[in-house]
């Protein structure tokens, strides 16, 4: 449902983020496992975009193997066109969100969603989502398991990678 305002020559595209709540791996100790892992992805221009251990990926909304989201939250509207957005994603994918840069604590899917949401609308994702890593790390168990957890790679299957379409500049 894009809104266009021809008199002002503006077309607005809606932006949502999808929130997936999944239980943390069960082998973790109880205080940690009570946490729900929060995975988010951003939906704009009828596509879902998310960041995982193999870089930025896209798929039709709800098209990953995670299935339908637990909640769909309206972020706002953006003027950014699809083409411009692709450029932006490509530039992100070569810098901040290249696949090697995935870090389950510091630079994860929610970081990506937050970043893109700010670019698209100027608004952020609620902090309870982005604060998940610190929540885990604030527990002694989390601290203890950190070296192990750091190497966790999360990549929801079902999407295709997002790259720079027009070749190098």
């Amino acid at each position: 449902p894009c809104k266009s305002y021809p008199w002002a020559e503006i077309t607005l595209f809606p932006v949502w983020y999808l929130l997936f709540l999944r239980p943390v791996l069960s082998f973790l100790a109880y205080p940690v496992s009570s946490l729900r892992c929060r995975h988010t992805s951003i939906v704009v221009h009828k596509d879902e975009f998310y960041f995982g251990s193999s870089g930025i990926s896209s798929c039709p909304p709800g098209g990953t193997l995670l299935g339908p989201p637990d909640s769909v939250v309206d972020v706002g509207s953006t003027e950014v066109t699809e083409e411009l957005f692709q450029e932006y994603l490509s530039s992100l994918g070569e810098s901040l969100f290249r696949r090697e840069a995935y870090d389950v604590f510091e630079n994860n899917c929610n970081t990506f969603t937050n970043e893109v949401a700010q670019f698209l609308t100027g608004r952020k994702i609620p902090s309870y989502i982005t604060d998940l890593p610190s929540e885990i790390l604030s527990t002694p168990f989390g601290q203890a398991l950190r070296p192990f957890l750091v190497s966790i790679q999360i990549q929801p299957p079902g999407g295709s990678p997002v790259g720079r379409p027009n070749g190098q500049s």
Partner: protein, 578 residues
């Protein structure tokens, strides 16, 4: 802070080339803002004046990031910043973050190219003061149009001008143009073709009359077929020229889209409608010289009814007339009204039965009451036509329902027995379903004709009766059965002796359109209804056995109740006053 300002304005002066620099009062009133520019995963602070225009800011950034100004896109709060805005206008305050996207050179180049094409020249922004911003030049498209769209516009200009030339030119030119690989690449882009076709004014006119035509454009296969046919354009036009030198068709060949109408499988109502419209126009065109011809009068009468719902406008029928020679049905009529044989007759009968064309033609011209047109049989066009008719025959063979339509037109009472004898054999050769062969039965086709005529008569004489007779149509599946309740009033109509097939005002466009019925069959062959007599033969027998002697009324009742014998009995009893 003051140093900052001076340094800033100094820089700005240097960059913008303002001759006299900022006036003193300006310097005092402007305030400096610290904005964060985020790009590609890094961010930097910039100090700029509030009243800096976006354009100026971009220039500054372009030097900083070592790129061209055209490559820069600034986004703030999800809004694209346009060059003539000022930062303060957009609500950019101290500490806000502006996102920057540096586009790749290639996309910005194509964008620039199309911007040049689309926009008037962009004046220098440097002299625009931010106060007088509103009367500044508006450069919206540069940022907000996607390069894809603009590229599309750019590229579509080319084929459009081409076709404009071609409207004056010859088919050879079209063929040459089609050879051009860049054009072929364009043509193979279905989105572009769809846009191209739908923007053509003739096409739009056509679509106004036949909304279904717009569905054609969604089918890329049809577009492809259209293009295939366009390759035969040269041949087709030759035929037209040969066949109708005296008809003074001076308008040029219509755009390819119209040709695609015929190649489309006959399951579309629009096609049927255009058939009908073509027929109408053909008849109108040939009416004058043969005013008193009862044959054409009859044809015209039948065809005109079908056209009631969509009166043709001058232009599309003209264009359709261009392709009339390709339509088998109209060729038949054309033949019969004019007596020209060669190409048209070949369209009707299969190629392998080569001896029949001349016989067919002579019979038709014999039955035709008109006169002096000589029967021409040039050998050349026939060879050419055999190519075209080969395609046509393929089309007929592939789509038996299309063949049925052809057949119905042909199987007029006035036509001789010979052609009707030929047709069933032809149909059997092509292994068409039995229904179609049954249609070739002269009595069956006569019956259908009478049904159509009766419907038309009823529509004009007593349209009020029609809704009551609607259940009869429901039973045949011609109408979607509405949920309203007619049943109580319906039995009245059944006692009317000359019961014609009912017509509901809603579907008057379906009245008498066996063609359209067949078309819908073509869409969904599983809907093929047998004749009610066959379907309900068992029930008919039981009704007869019970003593309901009125065969006709029995049939009506069974149709209305969809073969439910007991319900039919109830209806019959009610109607017969038990």
């Amino acid at each position: 802070m003051a140093e900052h300002e001076e340094g800033l304005t100094g820089t700005e002066m240097a960059q913008s080339g303002r001759p006299s620099g900022l006036p003193a009062d300006k310097k005092i009133s402007s305030s400096v803002t610290r904005v964060i520019v985020k790009t590609a995963g890094k961010q930097e602070d910039f100090m700029i004046a509030d009243d800096t225009s976006v354009r100026q800011f971009k220039e500054k950034l372009s030097t900083h990031f070592k790129c061209q100004v055209d490559q820069l896109v600034l986004v703030f709060m999800g809004r694209l910043l346009k060059d003539h805005d000022t930062l303060s206008q957009r609500g950019i305050l101290d500490g806000h973050t502006i996102h920057l996207v540096i586009k790749s050179k290639r996309s910005s180049r194509s964008l620039a190219h199309s911007s040049r094409k689309l926009l008037t020249e962009e004046p220098c922004h440097r002299d625009r003061n931010t106060e007088g911003n509103s009367n500044g030049v508006y450069q919206p498209a540069g940022v907000s149009h996607t390069p894809v769209e603009s590229a599309l516009l750019v590229e579509s200009d080319a084929p459009k001008t081409h076709t404009q030339d071609l409207e004056v030119g010859s088919p050879e030119y079209i063929a040459q143009m089609l050879q051009n690989p860049s054009i072929q690449q364009l043509l193979s882009d279905t989105d572009l073709m769809r846009q191209f076709i739908s923007e053509h004014p003739d096409m739009q006119q056509l679509m106004q009359q036949n909304p279904e035509v717009s569905h054609i454009l969604d089918n890329s296969e049809i577009l492809w077929q259209t293009l295939e046919l366009a390759r035969n354009l040269a041949v087709i036009q030759e035929i037209m020229q040969i066949q109708q030198p005296e008809q003074n068709l001076e308008h040029p060949l219509s755009p390819q889209a119209h040709l695609g109408l015929e190649t489309m499988p006959g399951g579309d109502n629009a096609l049927g409608q255009s058939y009908v419209d073509c027929n109408d126009q053909m008849l109108n065109s040939s009416q004058d010289p043969f005013g008193g011809n009862p044959f054409t009068a009859l044809l015209e009468g039948q065809v005109l009814e079908q056209v009631q719902s969509s009166p043709p406008s001058p232009t599309p029928p003209q264009e359709r007339r261009d392709q009339l020679p390709q339509l088998p049905t109209t060729r038949v009529i054309y033949t019969s009204s004019r007596g020209l044989s060669s190409i048209t007759s070949a369209n009707v009968t299969p190629n392998r039965v080569n001896h029949t064309p001349s016989a067919y033609a002579t019979t038709i011209s014999a039955t035709c009451q008109s006169h002096t047109c000589p029967v021409q049989q040039p050998a050349g066009p026939q060879q050419i036509s055999s190519q075209i008719t080969g395609n046509m025959m393929q089309l007929l063979l592939n789509n038996p329902y299309l063949a049925a339509q052809v057949m119905l037109f042909i199987s007029m009472p006035q036509l001789s027995e010979q052609c009707r004898q030929q047709l069933p054999a032809f149909l059997q050769q092509t292994q068409l379903p039995d229904m179609l062969i049954a249609l070739a039965n002269p009595k069956a086709s006569q019956a259908i004709l009478q049904i159509e005529q009766g419907l038309q008569l009823l529509a004009t004489e007593a349209p009020v009766v029609l809704p009551w007779v609607a259940p009869y149509l429901w039973g045949l599946g011609w109408l979607p059965a509405p949920s309203c309740s007619y049943p109580d009033t319906v039995p009245w109509a059944w006692d009317v002796p000359d019961i014609a097939e009912p017509k509901d005002p809603e579907c008057c466009h379906k009245s008498g359109t066996v063609l359209q019925k067949l078309q819908s069959l073509a869409e969904d062959p599983s809907q093929l209804p047998q004749a009610p007599e066959i379907r309900f033969s068992q029930q008919m027998e039981s009704l007869q056995a019970m003593g309901f002697g009125n065969h006709h009324a029995n049939l009506q009742a069974l149709i209305a109740t969809e073969g439910d014998t007991s319900a039919a009995i109830r209806k019959l009893r009610r109607s017969q006053g038990f």
